[in-house]
Amino acid sequence: MTEVAFTASATSGTRTYLTHALPLWRRTLLTHEAMIILSVVVVSIIAAASIPRFATPLTLSYLLLDVTPILLCALPVTLILVSGEIDLSVASAVGFSNVVIGWLFAEGVPIQGAILAGVLSGLLVGLVNGFLVAVLQLPSLAVTIGTLALFRGISIGILGTDSITNFPVELKSLANANVPGTGFPLVMFAVLVAIVLFAVMLHFTPFGRSVYATGQGIDTARFSGVRTVRVKFTLFLLSGLLAGLVGAYYTFRYGSARGDNAAGLELAVIAGVVLGGVSIFGGRGRIVGVVAGVLLIGLVQSVLRFMNYSSDVINIAVGGLLVVSVAVPLAFTAITQTVAHARRKTSTPMRAEESQHRKGK
């Protein structure tokens, strides 16, 4: 199209626009993500100062190793939640990949082949989810509860009572190795690369923009040329792929393949993602928050274990973190509104219509 002369704009002078409505500090510090990061820092400092032997490279190493599977699964699950869907089947996909690797390896397939097959198995889970959710447009909550059972069932079915353990030692030690002389696990390099890749993908690519648009207004997205089916399909494939990779990592980290491996991991993943500020209704959330959320849960668990609390207290703490992270902002809004109402006495602003629409799972 050739350049258009705008009569309308010619009549009044050019306008200028601020880039941001709020100053930098308010945009960065008064956010959910900043609160979580702050919590991580505060908890680390207090723990390091008050718990003997806590502040060691070993603590860091263990913390990072423990959160690695959760973190890797949380990355694509973040994107899925941002796009307005959910994936409860990640842990089953991890387990499925783990079992396929063990099974094929035990059947004599070379380890490289087994790993490849394991990753593809994870991808298969993503493919099934993607087809059912994106193409057939079935509710992802129900679909992934179904695939959670299906692929866990297949895993248990394949290995039965067996537990495969004789994996190559080099791979096992690689999965557990630290950068020499530090408490920094080698695998964290892969995790860091994944974090950066996902952060760039979500925040700095057209695809990322499509993901947000899909989650916030799927109709507007479609009217803007976003292939929402393809976007969702891709996200579930990514989730399957990462779960497949985590399955391989898991195999060598623990040197074990069995039907019940990684069971229940999905709740830890969802908890970390939600704690990191990702909305269950789609359209909101950032990778940095999720990384911090997963780390915060891992850190709190690690501290409580150090204080010899057992898993009951730890679970209460994790559940409490979750509830608090959603309830406190809402309670805060409710209180400020009540205060505002009391001030204006006769009239209040209309209760947000949107919140009525968004009420859901």
Partner: protein
């Protein structure tokens, strides 16, 4: 003998972490009682930590934390033979002695394994009690705990071997697993009994399973027709001895494993033993123990419980 002389030479204080497969399980609680008593006798510091449910990776963080806390001994019943390998290796590199009990890990990951009883003798005891009831002829089923635990598999294959070797008239027609879970064991027993008519008996290698299976059988029409035995916790199984569902069952005292484990750690720390075959150490009142091939110590012998002797035990 060697152990007692070196324990007062001002060596480091004992600090033991006890890690069962899962907390809140009477069997492991009883083993913990033994471990705690022994640690106290040795003037040590004791803590019991662990997951709520048994899963391969669930114990790893607890072992890691114990190592970080600088504890010098871990008494562990492993949920998986290899999943804990890295955690245990790191702990041992930092000077922590690792003694497994009840359920072992691969030998390279621990210093010593305390077996409750020789596997074969326990299997034999279970088979013998069953034969006493049903005679040398009949179909039986086996109710196991978790399909992946090493000791379970050892006991079950012991039963299979004993039957194959010495009781040709007995046929094992079914094996099922209740995962040490009341509900699952109960429901699976119901399903198994329906699925295989003509069953003469069930041997349960899961203490939880024995009580659950007894509870199902006693309330069903199979009561009196299907013999049940296996290993069981005296308190939980007593009621079924009394109502006749179970005539006799087998176990050992889990506390012995804990006690032996604690003394073994002391001996390992003091350098009295290294875990190789032939090493000997004294475990308080229990007397002297010898390390067998593969770094195994047998804590005791099977006990057969019946209405006569049941009241002597409380765990």
């Amino acid at each position: 003998a060697a152990g007692s002389s070196s324990s007062d030479q001002g060596t480091t204080a004992l600090s033991v972490g006890y890690v069962p497969k899962m907390l809140a399980n009477p069997y492991f609680d009883q083993a913990g009682v033994g471990a705690e008593e022994a640690v106290k006798e040795l003037n040590g510091d004791y803590v019991a930590v662990g997951p709520q449910v048994g899963a391969a990776d669930a114990q790893v963080p607890f072992i890691n934390t114990l190592a970080q806390q600088g504890r010098n001994g871990i008494i562990l019943s492993a949920s998986d033979p290899s999943a804990l390998g890295q955690a245990l290796t790191t702990a041992r590199e930092a000077g922590t002695k690792v003694v497994t009990f009840d359920s072992d890990v691969e030998p390279e990951y621990r210093d010593l394994f305390v077996s409750p009883v020789p596997d074969m003798s326990l299997s034999k005891a279970m088979v013998d009690v069953m034969i006493e009831q049903i005679g040398e002829e009949g179909k039986i089923a086996i109710l196991g705990a978790s399909p992946n635990a090493k000791n379970q598999n050892a006991w079950i294959s012991g039963i299979e071997k004993d039957i194959a070797d010495s009781h040709p008239g007995i046929e094992i027609v079914e094996k099922f697993y209740g995962n040490d879970d009341d509900q699952e064991s109960f429901d699976k027993t119901a399903a198994a009994l329906q699925k295989t008519p003509g069953l003469s008996g069930i041997i349960s290698t899961s203490t939880v399973g024995t009580a659950s299976a007894a509870r199902y059988i006693s309330s069903s029409s199979f009561a009196g027709n299907v013999a049940l035995t296996g290993i069981g916790m005296p308190n939980a199984t007593k009621a079924y001895l009394e109502d006749g569902t179970i005539k006799k069952f087998v176990l050992f005292d889990p506390a012995d494993m804990g006690r032996v484990g604690a003394y073994a750690i002391r001996a390992l720390l003091d350098g009295d033993i290294t875990g190789k075959a032939g090493d000997t150490f004294t475990a308080g009142d229990l007397g002297e123990y010898t390390v067998e091939e593969g770094g195994i110590v047998q804590a005791g012998e099977p006990i057969v419980f019946d209405l006569e002797n049941i009241d002597q035990y409380n765990f």
